[in-house]
Symmetry: none
Subunit: 408 residues, 4 copies
């Protein structure tokens, strides 16, 4: 989750894009249909030659969405028909949300407030038949690492803590796998903190966990103040609905991280994040989609929404005076597919549930079609990296022999 | 160079986007200024907080552009002022072009025709003070690999062949480094063919060469019929203007390939390509920009333009009948920067010269700012890849113990 | 598997040679005995000074052959009597067959149909006491790589897949080692495809596997579209009956490939292939026999039979229009021995089982007799190859100093 | 040159095949035309889709042939028309001959007698416009190495000795490159003997020499008694007519030897030999043709003719009593081309001159077409050979783990 406070202030007060929920809404509202259709192809790609089909969700889900005012969108990715395998369509959900109470409220109220806010959204996912649901990074708390204050550590909990118990009920109720990224307190290892995604099975059991591999120390993202690089490798969790993995936030800037989940067989990789700012926003629709293309798997990108104001002002290491807020988390959660198609994004400022049906057969179809795995030459890169990590690594540089003749 | 013939037919006959040269022209012509300004930020990012500044080119360059009817654009990337280093601004050029004569013309005429077509464009780059110029993949010939016919091998030449001699004169004349991607005939190694970029120094000397690392075998891109994976590793060429490397075409789908040029210290990586088709077009603005972001260097992406019709029809392995053309090469060449900003793209169907001033200091600034190199944990991935290439590699999979209890 | 569609049309409709099953049948039917006897010496060589002895097979085997209409031949290679070693006679079998159903049938039916067709032929080998049996390349499927369509990838299976399970039963039943060349799907390595020979032990266990080392990209043989060069080196499998290896199809054009299996100690090298066409047919009796001579081991060459017609037409890169069939696979499977003797070939168009008894002692006898290993000077060639693979390799050329005086 | 005395005596007293000059004459005389045409395709291949065209030689050449009773044949290999290169047709000649006088005659007479015998045959080549002519191995002397007697060493001469002077005149006269394989006495290096081919340029100058790389010690071929393995590597001689090399006799059994001349760029490789015997004869049409196919160059195979009787009887290491002759040298010289086509062979027992026109462009066309050089993976074999020559080399053997359970 990376952030540059926008120099010339936010686009508009409440985080919309000139009043529109998302770039796609802005474009579709302001371009003639035949123009939008072509722009849509260039920006969102094609799935099986067509733009993504919308999914009609049950009324009960829609009702919850309007009653609790959260954005609800659903689109589906299909794959070619195969002879030897039936379609393996799985329904996947992403929830983005703002915090429920001001950061000055008692911590337990804040967390309880977030539980209450998420309950109806998770219900909507449940009634809509979502099989695998992923929440946003550190969903139980405000993204307080900008303060570098230690008190926020109290939001940390063990893997089988309160938030997991809350979700285990819902997992069992809806026969739903839930990915729950939290701040973990590791009781047995010196009570050290980790940024951890807990994987809850559709029977409510804890399948396992993955700790964030790459930790930012960028501007307001002082996460290295709180936790170290994860020690769980790149696990892929085999659930009844398919093989999933979690690339947490800042990990999305690391192609090797995406690659590793693919090498271990992931079919869907979630990227729960918390990112703000004018500069990082143009990167948001690139990195996840690139990973889906390069590694031939689906990616679910989630970003929290809203502006979180903290009691004590803090500075951002950019030479500017102290300030109290983290800037606007621009949501825009979306799904990317191996064939370079992707859904329009959720709202830039509202809570939201994005649902997608995805035929997991598309992964292997695109591994065969593009041949990126086949032509990867991993042995060449295994050899390069083995050399690179040595102190005496010499870069492969070919210097112009006449370099010093008449250099400017 | 990856291609899917568009299922529902080309956008419009001569390759424009609903009559516009590029997506950016379409949006800027059809959106109110304040909307376009925000869309522009989201799609093209910001450089030092602002959208890219246009460069005013000398009249002589503009005259050549209008006389020879090629698209001419120029924008500059700046970096923060530093105390210990002066700005290292280098002027870089990309040329995209269609072939000059029908593919039925005698081969030597076809190549000569392309030389004549490129001369004024290279002159324009020269008079505009371009320091480093890159041409498109296999620029001396039609992209005939779709046919799998062997006769096109006659376009191959040694590294110091006719095309290199043609460019050496211009390199000396304009004190310009020129990257020349050709089909190489390796005289000393069994006359085997390679897809090779020749690096010509600003004194007209041959600095070295790089052979395409990843070879496609996708639909009409039967390049594995003609040449094997390159054997030159990931060289970075130290020129008087900066450290450059060349990631040829299909290599852009391989994050490890981009990574390796970065590990060897590249500041600008060119991606000369030849790619067509509706499905691959949505990937074109993603992969190069992702590489620039992830590896903190500049990327120059070039794609040829036009539709090339071949005498003998060929099939594409997509179950469809034989056809004579490769589909529309959609140009859209562009530059990407480490800060996620990028230039608008050149025309989707015209020849063109894209010029950009880039302060190479931006690379290190963004290595420090985002910390992607610092937090990369290369040793983790060196270890993973070393294991992965072994036959007995076991993916790191955590299976839900209750998987077989009541799977739906 | 290399192919040139015959320019002047097939020899006769159903693939015979002017009505005869094989060249040898044609010659023996049309030449007076004493002429044929001398022609036979020149074309098939001598084993221990005599032409090969026929083996009398059990009636049950012959009954299966006539009932299921497959060609059944058997000849034996003997060796000189030795003092210190007993004869090591092993009975080896080769099966060539056409596909069972049209390529438009459901894939699972096509594979099941081939299982059913092969069962009685394998039984015949079993009751005839065959110790080691080899099937043809990609025996479970039509040789569909000419189409470059991805759907045929569905025929791929893991090493321990359905076809291996089918053969493991028969291996155990008949105490027979079975070499099973299939299209492998490598589950643990990104589901990438390989052209792989599975080695099943006489106890039904999987001893190991070897992946095709050299991949063709010639005319209709677009195998580089589907899989890369093998990564298993040149393994020799030590079975209870002797040391065997597998040089798959296109590998037979590479003397270094044959050499490597010999250096690793192979006594019998199988060459399961799929090759068609007038031009490649003259090569078929040369390359395998040359390998047996040069490396002093036995070679078993297998080629499929019949003409396979595919639903969607495809072009062959030879400038000719699209067509639906691969041309006639001309069978002609045969055994070659280290003493340059070789069996007559199986039918050019019928399914067939070729059995041969071979005294493996002949290998060492010919290593001693011809001294090819002793006089090989491997160090000279190790040095040459080490230099050749370097970019700066300079060929050893002695130019006529007067070359430029009065060259014509 | 390798030999096994035929156990059951020669086919017919004077060396014919049942009275016919060659296998091809026997077949064409005894098979109906349409059968012979198909047998001819299978045994001699096709060049550009057709059987080889005969060349009409000048009457003067034919007159010499009938006057001096030597077999005279001529056929031509064409190549596809190319755009960027003109055809490079070179006329090449091979001379096979028996010795002139009994081996009991004075040595100088024997050599003089061979000069006199060859003069008219070389003249025939000259008037027929032969550009490059190759003589047989140790053409100046009887192949006396079977005796292991030292007196025959007197036939040895320095590179610029009498035989070279004799040929230099003819080379100049006919503007003809001549390859002269002799027994060399190395004056400057202890007068040591070598089996050496002298390369005489079309201006009569000595371009260079190549010494036999692999030396037989097989039965009557006791050449290791007289000379060591050559120390001149694998030179390719660049003459005005093309790049040639010489693989002397026993070298033809070593694929690495053939390979090395190809790696150094040879377009035509001559194989001057001296070989007898029933067993080696079946190998004669295989090894040279295999080399032409595998290395995509032309091969000219020459074998002497006749039976040479020596004064003192000698034994052959085969347990049989002493005998006075070397057995019948079966001539059968022939040309092989990269496309697997080859000429019918010269007579099995007469002196002869075989002429062939060959378009050297065919070499590169077949390198591109079959791709054997491209797909060779030389680095894999450089690595294997580097390991193989080490004392601690371990063959890559995969043993059946159940090997010792119930081995027969």
């Amino acid at each position: 989750m990376d952030h540059m406070i926008s120099e010339n202030g936010e686009t508009s007060a409440e985080g919309s894009i000139c009043g529109y929920d998302s770039l796609h809404q802005l474009l579709s509202a302001n371009l003639k249909p035949e123009l939008y259709q072509e722009v849509n192809r260039l920006l969102l790609g094609r799935n099986c030659g067509r733009s993504l089909e919308q999914i009609v969700l049950p009324e009960s889900a829609k009702a919850l969405s309007s009653k609790h005012d959260f954005d609800l969108q659903a689109a589906s990715f299909s794959a070619d028909k195969e002879q030897m395998r039936n379609p393996r369509v799985v329904r996947v959900g992403l929830i983005q949300n703002s915090i429920a109470l001001p950061t000055t409220a008692p911590f337990s109220d804040q967390t309880r407030g977030i539980f209450d806010k998420l309950k109806p959204i998770i219900d909507a996912a449940g009634v809509a038949g979502v099989n695998i649901l992923c929440l946003q990074e550190a969903w139980t708390m405000p993204f307080a690492f900008c303060t570098r204050e230690r008190r926020w550590c109290e939001f940390a909990e063990p893997v089988d803590g309160e938030s997991t118990k809350f979700l285990q009920e819902l997992a069992k109720k809806y026969n739903m796998v839930i990915v729950s990224p939290i701040l973990e307190r590791d009781i047995d290892h010196g009570e050290v903190l980790w940024n951890t995604a807990v994987i809850i099975g559709n029977n409510g059991n804890i399948i396992g966990k993955h700790r964030k591999n790459h930790i930012p120390r960028v501007g307001d993202f002082n996460e290295s103040t709180y936790y170290m690089e994860g020690d769980t490798g790149h696990p892929v969790f085999e659930t009844v609905f398919g093989k999933i993995a979690v690339n947490i936030c800042y990990g999305r800037h690391h192609p090797l991280n995406w690659l590793a989940f693919g090498l271990n067989g992931a079919e869907i990789v979630f990227n729960p994040s918390a990112t703000v700012g004018e500069l990082s926003e143009p990167m948001w629709p690139i990195e996840a989609r690139n990973a889906a293309i390069a590694n031939s798997y689906f990616v679910g990108s989630i970003n929290r929404v809203g502006t979180e104001v903290f009691p004590n002002p803090f500075t951002s290491g950019d030479g500017k005076p102290q300030h109290n807020d983290f800037g606007h988390f621009y949501g825009s959660s979306h799904f990317s597919a191996p064939d370079a198609s992707c859904t329009p994004s959720l709202s830039r400022y509202k809570d939201g549930l994005l649902i997608s049906d995805m035929d997991l057969n598309l992964c292997r179809q695109y591994k065969d079609k593009w041949g990126f795995r086949m032509t990867a030459r991993y042995e060449v890169y295994a050899d390069l990296l083995a050399k690179y990590i040595k102190p005496d690594f010499k870069p492969q540089v070919v210097s112009d022999p006449l370099l010093h003749k008449n250099s400017t």
